[in-house]
Amino acid sequence: MSVELCGVKVPLAAFALELDATLAGRVTAIFGASGAGKTTLLEAIAGLRRLKSGAVSVDGAIVVDAEAGVFMPPEQRAIGYVPQEGALFPHFAVRHNLRYGFDARRDRPAGLTYEHVVEVLELSALTERRVGTLSGGEKQRVALGRALLSAPRLLLLDEPLAGLDAALRERLLPYLARVRDEFAIPMLYVTHSPDEVMALCDDVLVLDRGRVVARGAPAEIFAKSERPRYELRGG
């Protein structure tokens, strides 16, 4: 699996996101401070934001090409997106949230079952609950399960642990690792935490003001003297 970003440009308020990169890791971290353009990049790949120029292809299939006027709508891309706040549907119970994308997919892979995802993320006790009664960590697990069940070929995770306290982050990290190992769906993982990158990712793209300023394996990136700098900037 690979995601190719060719001359991608998206104007933002203070600067423009400008990227040329091929992402081929199992879990690729998009690392950088708040406002570096990380979320914008995910939105552009998911089809929630238009490119000013450039193209994005997934596994060689073009999903958007601004010059050629190609724009595949998000529902046809099979790219799962978990925003930072989870964005669960408040008027549905957990089960209905989980099945929202699953039931609509006719061509889902044979190995993907509702029961399996519920088991891996330990959601069975939550399925009849209303979304409003869930804790922050539970919401993130449901949001992750919902995205997985839509049978994506690529999963975009936008700081899934950012809104949670340290103890909860510790507890959720193994779930993410399990998803990575059980489902073999490549992920782009937006974060500003070096610890999460070290625990989950095999490739890191460091973004600053819309541009890639460093690229490499997590150990390389964070072993260097730059680590304190990134930590400081990451806040």
Binding site: E75, I79, Y81, P83, A87, P90, A147, S150
Partner: protein, 222 residues
């Protein structure tokens, strides 16, 4: 209650219902367009829709009279095409109440749609739902309370409409007389006790409408 009072009551309820149903699809669609889309001429449309709220109802009635009269641009066309007369018939009452309550429906619908987090719609798209499925399963259910409130507000406005109705539909017993028109007329004639009966009816209908809407809004947890 006299037969005449019953007739007026049912006529008024029928007109208010018909005018609310008539503006519902357009009002909801326009509310959504104003909340979610940018398009050329948007502020002009917003202003025109809001006009009946700010200009005197009688003036709005006069505009409708000129538009829908036999020699008016719309009235003439309708008469030639369908053979329908509009002014001074029940159709004029429906048009007047619809125009007067339309801004209330559009405004409430707009606020209702603005209250739906666009993130939810975006995520639904990434889960494989096309725009129509997103509209039906996410946008509409989450805006439903506001839309019901808007429809009740429009219905209530239609029940009480007076100024525009009297201009464009006149006072024709058995054909265009609504509760409001009748109450005014009865008081003019010094038949206050009959007017008080219709007043009671008006209050009862308004009360029932609000009660029914509260019931629906409560039953639908957000």
């Amino acid at each position: 209650m006299s037969a005449e009072a019953w007739q007026i009551t049912w006529f008024t309820i029928g007109v208010a219902t018909l005018s609310t149903l008539a503006i519902l699809p357009g009002g909801v669609a326009l509310g959504w367009l104003l909340a979610r889309r940018q398009w050329p001429g948007k502020s002009l449309v917003e202003t025109i829709v809001a006009l009946p709220l700010v200009i005197p109802p009688v003036a709005t009635g006069l505009i409708l009279l000129k538009l829908f009269g036999r020699r008016g641009p719309l009235g003439g066309w309708i008469e030639r095409t369908f053979g329908w007369e509009i002014v001074f018939t029940w159709k004029a009452v429906v048009i007047a109440t619809a125009v007067m309550s339309f801004p209330l429906l559009v405004r409430t619908a707009r606020v209702a749609f603005e209250g739906v987090n666009p993130r939810l719609e975006q995520v639904a798209r990434t889960l494989g739902a096309g725009p129509w499925r997103v509209w039906g399963t996410i946008t509409l259910p989450l805006a439903a309370r506001g839309l019901v409130a808007g429809a009740v507000l429009a219905f209530a406005r239609a029940l009480g409409e007076f100024g525009a109705t009297v201009m464009v539909a006149g006072f024709i017993p058995g054909q265009t007389v609504t509760l409001s028109l009748s109450i005014y007329q009865l008081v003019q004639l010094g038949r206050d006790d009959e007017a008080l009966v219709l007043l009671g009816v008006s209050v009862a209908i308004a009360f029932a409408a609000v009660w029914v809407s509260e019931y629906f809004v409560r039953r639908r947890p957000a």
